[in-house]
Every structure is written in structure tokens, then in C-alpha cells.
């Protein structure tokens, strides 16, 4: 009787399906990824149990940091350029096409409009050093540029995308309430009464949620 030889299998295995899958995932992530823009200011938002998500588009973000500074940002580049021209015209500041292009790449800024031009002329690396010293968009009653930005961005967004904008307030946990309330008050004067407070996620407490 012949000995039953164990079938000698090659130790190599077919990797093709794995490679297929890997490349499928790579393609998926490459196409869906949207690089997080480099923030001008880092804020640590407080957490809440809210499960609502921030809308994808048409969002005006007002960032309030712990040093009472307010930063303005809007998502769509076209909206940014139009808002820049509108606010620039109001304050008699002109921006070149190159500056407008630079501006459309900024996630947000916290400067009075008079300083915006020189900031846009800077190289990207130099801006990083200035970022910490940005004074914030002025919003007191004498010099209220924030409301001009918000209104200009709203009308521009409406004109371009025909969609209303959401106002998101992204406050640092250590920001003080008067600054946030000042922002809210300024917007309320223009009949903007709906706000979205950006927060981190937190699990719902078990006992109280009935």
C-alpha cells in the first residue's frame, strides 16, 4: 500500500482579494476625505448630550476663544470672496484678486478689516506667527464689523447657493459668557435668533434620562 503523502501546499497565499479590498478602501477614503483646514485658533469646546449634527454646508462659524476674541469664518470660498468685497466696499478697503484668492483659503480670521490686507499679503508661514496675536473681529457698538461680515456672508450665500445659512457658535469652554452673550445680542439686533452651539459629544446619563 502506498503511503498517503500529505499534499504539499505552497506556503504562499493568494493576496489578490486582500489587495483589491485595500485599494477599494484607499479609493474610498481618498475620495471622501476632506482635509480639516488648519485652524487659526484652537478652541476646546465643552461637551453636551445633544445628538444633532452640524450641517455640512452654509455654515457661518463664529469662534470665541478664551481671550475674548471672536473669529469669523464661513465655509464656501465663493461666499467668502463676495463677503470680502461687500464689507471692503463698506469700509473703503479694496482688495486685489490675489488677496481675495488668499482670503478664500482662510478657514477663519480675527482681524479688523483695516489689518486684513497686510495679513493676506503675508506668506503662510509668517501668518502662523501672527495668528496668536490676532485681536479678534471688533463687535462693540461703535465699531461693529462682525455684524457686517455676518450679514454680507448671509446675503452672498443666499445669492450664490439660494440656501439660508446657519450660525454656529464655537466657544471655548473657558470663554466667558459675556462675550458669547455679546455675540448673540449683536446678532439678535439683526433678527438672527437661531444659533447652533458647537459642542463635543457626551453620553447621556442613564438615571436622569427618562
Amino acid at each position: 500500500m502506498p503511503k498517503v503523502k500529505p499534499h504539499r501546499t505552497s506556503p504562499s497565499l493568494d493576496m489578490t482579494p486582500m489587495v483589491d479590498l485595500a485599494f477599494l478602501l484607499v479609493t474610498f477614503f481618498m475620495l471622501t476625505t476632506k482635509f480639516a483646514p488648519e485652524e487659526t485658533v484652537v478652541v476646546d469646546t465643552p461637551s453636551s448630550t445633544s445628538e444633532l449634527k452640524l450641517p455640512e454646508n452654509n455654515v457661518i462659524t463664529l469662534t470665541v476663544d478664551a481671550k475674548k476674541r471672536v473669529f469669523f469664518g464661513v465655509d464656501a470660498p465663493q461666499t467668502k470672496i463676495q463677503a470680502l468685497q461687500k464689507v471692503g466696499a463698506k469700509y473703503g478697503v479694496n482688495f486685489t484678486a490675489a488677496q481675495a484668492k488668499e482670503f478664500s483659503n482662510l478657514p477663519n480670521f480675527g482681524l479688523p478689516i483695516s489689518q486684513l490686507g497686510s495679513y493676506l499679503n503675508m506668506a503662510k508661514e509668517d501668518r502662523k506667527q501672527v495668528n496668536a496675536q490676532q485681536p479678534g473681529v471688533p463687535l462693540d457698538s461703535l465699531n461693529n464689523q462682525l455684524i457686517d461680515w455676518v450679514l454680507a456672508a448671509r446675503t452672498a450665500n443666499q445669492a450664490i447657493f439660494h440656501k439660508p445659512t446657519y450660525i454656529a457658535i464655537k466657544g471655548d469652554g473657558n470663554a466667558d459668557v459675556p462675550t458669547v452673550q455679546q455675540v448673540i445680542k449683536v446678532l439678535q439686533e439683526k433678527d438672527i435668533n437661531r444659533f447652533n452651539l458647537i459642542t463635543d459629544m457626551e453620553n447621556k446619563p442613564v438615571a436622569a434620562a427618562k
Binding site: S10, P11, S12, L13, M15, T16, V19, A22, F23, L25, V26, F29, M30, T32, T33, K34, F35, A36, T45, P46, S47, S48, T49, S50, E51, L52, K53, L54, V64, K170, G171, D172, G173, N174, A175, D176, V177, P178, T179, V180, Q181, I184, Q188, E189, D191, N193, R194, F195, N196, L197, I198, T199, D200, M201, E202, P205, A207, A208, A209, K210
Partner: protein, 178 residues
């Protein structure tokens, strides 16, 4: 390496030399390495999670012919956000000028799970439908404001308002020395 070439040939008994059969397989390992490297990179850089938001709707700007809504003292409860994450609260209304109303008793608690939340739940159990007035002092942190609004959601409190802190309430805090 993942690919180990099997013996190319085993047929000949030292006879004719055959042309070496080339394996049709290519070593895919570097490609797989690269694919997974890219996969990891894109997975880590992608911003999947959109941030959560908490909706806040403020009342429409007041016109002159509309009067302020008065609330009953039996329904009212005030929470004052103080400094160092303190939450002061009292029931009823604080009107020092009106002698017929007793001075409310100020208490202090915090934003922990057994702090202000418990107070709110107890209050809701005793007398239903309280109206909460949230007053933030200058020293309050934005985190406290979000926390207290969150507590309103957690405890299912429907009626609440963010209002300015009047001087009477500040005096109350000062007097109580809590």
C-alpha cells in the same frame, strides 16, 4: 517575504537541462504595503465626525407694544451661574423692594450629575412645570452655560430662559456669602 517560491522543477533525474520555468506570480508585498500605508493615512486624516451642535433659539426682539411675560412666584426658579463652576439657585422671585414677598433662600450647588440636575428633578417632582430663569454672571464660563442648557435637555425641562442677571440677585449672592 510573503511569497515563497516553490521548487521550480522536480521532474528530471539529472537528465536534460530544461529552461528554467519562470513563475508567473509577482511579489505583491510592496504594493500591499503601499496600499495599507495610504489606507491608514487617509483613514486617520479624514474628518468623518461632524461636530455636535446644540440648538439655541432666542426670543424674537421685543417690540414696544408687547409686554414682558410675568411669571408666578410659585413657578419660578432661578439658577445663577457664578464663578468657579458654582450654580446658585433659589425658588420664587427675588424682589427686595416688595416687602410682601419673602426673601428667597439662596443655595449653592455644582454642575455634577448629583448637583443641579438633582435639584431640577426634585423641583419637577414636587410641583410640575417650573419655569427656569438662567442668569449668567460675568465670571461664569461658557462651559457652564452649555452645561446648564444641557441639563435642561436632560431633565426634559421645556420652559427656560436665558436672562440678564439683575443687581438684586448679585446682592443676594454677596449677602449669602456662599
Amino acid at each position: 517575504m510573503a511569497e515563497i517560491q516553490g521548487k521550480a522543477d522536480s521532474g528530471g533525474k539529472g537528465g536534460k537541462k530544461r529552461a528554467k520555468k519562470m513563475s508567473t506570480k509577482i511579489d505583491m508585498t510592496p504594493m500591499v504595503d503601499l496600499a495599507f500605508l495610504l489606507l491608514t493615512f487617509f483613514m486617520l486624516t479624514t474628518t468623518f465626525a461632524k461636530p455636535n451642535v446644540m440648538q439655541l433659539t432666542m426670543p424674537v426682539k421685543k417690540t414696544d407694544d408687547v409686554e414682558d411675560t410675568k411669571i408666578k412666584a410659585s413657578q419660578a426658579m432661578t439658577i445663577i451661574l457664578g464663578k468657579d463652576n458654582k450654580a446658585y439657585y433659589y425658588f420664587g422671585l427675588n424682589t427686595p423692594n416688595d416687602k410682601t414677598v419673602a426673601k428667597p433662600e439662596l443655595k449653592v450647588t455644582n454642575f455634577a450629575a448629583n448637583g443641579i440636575r438633582q435639584v431640577l428633578l426634585d423641583r419637577q417632582r414636587q410641583k410640575p412645570e417650573p419655569i427656569i430663569l438662567i442668569k449668567a454672571t460675568e465670571d461664569a464660563k461658557y462651559k457652564n452655560m452649555v452645561d446648564i442648557l444641557d441639563e435642561m435637555n436632560i431633565t426634559n425641562q421645556k420652559k427656560y430662559a436665558l436672562v440678564k442677571v439683575p443687581k438684586d440677585d448679585l446682592d443676594l449672592i454677596k449677602d449669602s456669602a456662599l
